[in-house]
Symmetry: C2
Subunit: 580 residues, 2 copies
């Protein structure tokens, strides 16, 4: 017997059967009976009923042909019905789907037997003799059928309907072809007819977040709950989801987001490794704040203080002085910035690289390599993660990411960018850093003109970059009264008008570095405890070099068009969130 | 003209030529001349000499046929002698060595012209007309010859000898075959005859650490300076080296150590990726201490407090509840342990993994996978990093690492390990954790018995493992008076008798987890702010699972037989070191 898609039942039987009233005699009606007497009789009846129920239950258990074939496993995974030497190999649903795709419809027990572990997406009784479960394993779901028979008791059917959603079960089942394809599951041409059903870990009946709710996009703006368009169900706020992140992450598009995130990190390393970069681990704990001193987290360190690295910047450069001529790093960076925006995190993953310049007068060698790196990542996402990308975009509807023709990444100078904005009517200073709205506007203009969501802005004004940035030799020192006038050999990369990478050629001669530290718009002391080792390193010789740092979560967010960077962090950290 | 290996010079000319005395007339000797008069004459003579020298210098510069061909580049890499459009492609020494290996000895200018950037290992004058330099680039060194000729001035030869070691230079050179192989360089069958020589970044003449000293092993024990066996030069202490780590890292065996370290991380990810593990980034910043509360660093967090993760343990498990069924992570972990030993760091790189159990009663599935992972890493190091391994072992002499036969990793139970120690006469408790000396001794016994430096100790006593460890079902609860009696489904991995990995099956049912938290030898409260999200996660369902965490620096240290784990960290952190 095979039924699917929960077809209209012939006869619906209540799943929670009312216990039959047993053994209680009906006493003669006496008008004068006292209240106390009534109470006593009531209690006696209840006790008798209870005893009868227990006896019946015991009897039912004794008669239960399936008693060894279902139930809850103990904390160690054991069950009285399973011999300890019963080691049936387990399979994966993905393998089942592939291996048995051509199975034809078959009679009871006629089909391959499999054993697998799954999450119960839902379970519903059709009758006292029949129940359906949706079982999930990674991206796959399959319909399971629990049908009473000579060898499968009604008690077992009832048990199957009592399993709370999100519980993990192990099932022994026969794989069959359903009469009609199952519409509600990813595996549509197979169903699992359950023979044994054990709970590995029972979920609470009431969860603080429904996976079905997590499967929908977050509210469009702000944090207020919204009604869904389709069904009027509330759209759960981002905050509620993040408070229950371990459930939220079960949503299939969330699984896909983090598949893509892992993919970006892998593509980053893969490309750089083929270009002879060596992976490094620089310290997160620093003895003194290095990059300016603002926005740095302080750590108690054996009675003294330490600070969390805001980037591996200084260490990457110090390693260039050590003749590690091409280095890359994937690791956490920390920013004590009190920004509660949709694009800031206090802890995120930095994708960092630094390399010698083969030609000390041509930092565009690095810009080109970085452009090719990003194209490699984008193309890798297209070819390897299209399924995941489509899945996420089916939730967060966003335009496909427009890539430039190979090797033709739009690379504008900052001055050209300013000119485009001015031409578009934006009131913007020639040498001021761009505001976020102006960046987005420029992104839209570049997209319109060059047909690319990815572009590079080169030669930023010197005054808006850090002290270690190499000034543009053509404009440095032209204004004798202002050592910070002119441009610099620095660049930002943008996706959909938002910055994902910042980089530059760095100063490699110690004397000039010290000069720039002192004359910078925010001067720093070269003898500052957080900087002296850095400055000293250059005194022992250093190649000309350049590099950049990319925000991994930002790439993921902008590739997928996610409305908030927190969605690209497993357990996001911001000024008000440190849990879970 | 080609000379090599600094052959005995025909005639050694002092490199710092004495300025010729110019123009001063010798006055008649007058016995009665006053002291003041003498002084005046002296000053006049000096002034005249100075003027003459300057004139000569100017003249010499004007006559210097090479004046455009050498000198120090400005901070931007420019030189008055180099036209700004002069863009000669740069090459790598490794490519030079390969491409021109069959070059035959040739006359002046007869050979391939190349341009490359290198570090000056040393430079020495042979005569006023001839100097030799050793130029270094990554693992390659080549001898460079600076020989005076019609087109190369003596001034340029002199300049070449004035360049401090460790400076970075860019050279234009003709590649030739030396008369005899150069013994002191890695590229022995080629030498570079310099035509142009510019300093990109000049090193200080006096460096706080010599690379040659960094090339030697650290003192055998303790921190006191020792005399070298060969030459009586002092062996520089580890502390001095770490204080000048950017110079220390230039030592070739240090480059090799970090090549191997990157290799281990890569092999770890490579193996696990082929086994369907997904790379994750778990947070380093936590809202409350989680693993017991001791040894945790406290962070100031926007007026409140945060804590640095001691491992990704709880997050890996929480992700298993989220249906991330196989996860891995490579990232920093932090231990506020005041241990100043040769094997402890306060920040190190964790290689972590966690996976569902396909069969909830068989955690050895994970032990086997981890054994295979380690064998994959060891074999990968053998095949891909033999050159680097040999280089390091040429400095730190240690026995080759003995690997077990494929698939035959010695896996002993803790009880078997104790029995071996007892048989060897060690006084050790049946259920006590092993001390470091006992671990080393057991390692030696295992090596002797099984011929392997790598082995697994399985089924540790429950009482010595963390609260989340799954008890061994066969022994749990047998002693009604002690819930922590018996063993556990946990394991440590060892290299050369030192622990590199700790792992276990974890508890996956929330109720049992809470029970174990309360009855543990160091009880923890399930409602503790650092643990409640963790406990809650299991209430929404979780697969049976197991995993482990490996210390990356320990693998590197023990593979290579390094005497101190700090040598396997680029910038090590310990209770007394936070810099550089």
């Amino acid at each position: 017997m095979s039924e699917n898609n929960a077809p209209p039942a012939e006869k619906v039987v209540p799943l929670t059967e009312e216990p039959k009233e047993g053994g209680g005699e009906k006493g003669p009606s006496k008008g004068a009976l006292k209240k106390a007497q009534k109470e006593k009789e009531k209690a006696e009846k209840a006790a008798a009923r209870k005893a009868a129920e227990d006896a019946q239950k015991k009897q039912a258990e004794a008669n239960d042909v399936s008693k060894n074939d279902y139930g809850e496993l103990d904390p160690f995974g054991r069950h009285p019905g399973i011999p300890s030497n019963d080691k049936v190999p387990r399979v994966k649903l993905a393998a089942v789907a592939e291996q048995f795709q051509d199975t034809t419809h078959a009679e009871e027990n006629d089909g391959p037997h499999v054993v697998f572990t799954a999450t119960v997406a839902n379970s519903r009784g059709q009758s006292a003799k029949l129940a359906f479960m949706e079982l999930e394993q990674e991206y796959n779901t399959i319909q399971a059928v629990v049908a009473a028979s000579d060898t499968l008791s009604r008690q077992m059917v009832k048990f199957s309907t009592s399993i709370p959603s999100q519980s993990r079960v192990v099932v022994h089942a026969v794989i069959k072809k359903p009469k009609e394809p199952v519409k509600s599951t990813t595996i549509q041409n197979l169903e699992a007819h359950i023979k044994k059903l054990y709970i590995v870990c029972k979920a609470d009946a009431q969860l603080p977040l429904q996976v079905a709710d997590a499967e929908r996009p977050i509210p469009v703006e702000g944090e207020e709950e919204q009604k869904g368009e389709d069904d009027g169900r509330p759209i759960v706020t981002l905050n509620t989801r993040l408070n229950n992140r371990t459930i939220d992450l079960r949503a299939r598009h969330n699984q896909a987001i983090f598949g893509i995130k892992a993919g970006v990190a892998e593509l980053f390393r893969e490309f750089l490794k083929t270009h002879a970069f060596k992976e490094i681990q620089s310290p997160a704990l620093l003895g003194a704040p290095s990059e300016g001193g603002a926005n740095v987290f302080e750590v108690s360190y054996f009675g003294g203080k330490a600070y969390l690295a805001q980037s591996p910047q200084l260490y990457k450069q110090m390693l260039i002085t050590s003749n590690f001529l091409r280095v890359m790093e994937v690791g956490p960076v920390f920013r004590a910035e009190n920004s509660n925006t949709a694009r800031h995190l206090t802890e995120f993953t930095g994708l960092d690289m630094e390399m010698e310049l083969l030609d000390e007068t041509n930092y565009h060698e690095v810009v080109s390599l970085l452009e090719n790196l990003m194209l490699y990542i984008f193309n890798g996402l297209r070819t390897r993660y299209s399924k995941e990308t489509d899945l996420v975009r089916s939730i967060y509807h966003v335009e496909d990411f427009k890539l430039p023709e190979a090797g033709k990444v739009p690379r504008l100078t900052f001055a050209e960018g300013i000119a485009m904005l001015k031409e578009d009517g934006v009131d913007v200073g020639e040498m001021d850093d761009l505001s976020t709205p102006d960046e987005k506007r420029l992104g839209a203009l570049v997209l319109k003109k060059y047909g690319s969501d990815f572009y590079v802005l080169d030669k930023y004004p010197l005054a808006v970059r850090p002290f270690y940035t190499m000034p543009d030799p053509a404009t440095y020192g032209q204004d004798a009264s202002n050592p910070n006038a002119g441009y610099s050999n620095s660049y930002d990369f943008f996706m959909r008008g938002q910055e994902i990478m910042s980089g530059a050629q760095r100063i490699h001669q110690a004397a000039f570095l010290e000069k720039r530290m002192r004359e910078h718009v925010s001067p720093v002391d070269p003898n500052n405890p957080g900087l002296k080792d850095y400055v000293s390193a250059f005194k022992a010789g250093c190649n000309a070099h350049a590099g950049g740092g990319i925000g991994l979560e930002r790439i993921v967010m902008l590739w997928l068009g996610l409305p908030n960077v927190r969605l690209a962090s497993l357990f996001p950290r911001d000024p008000t969130r440190l849990a879970p």
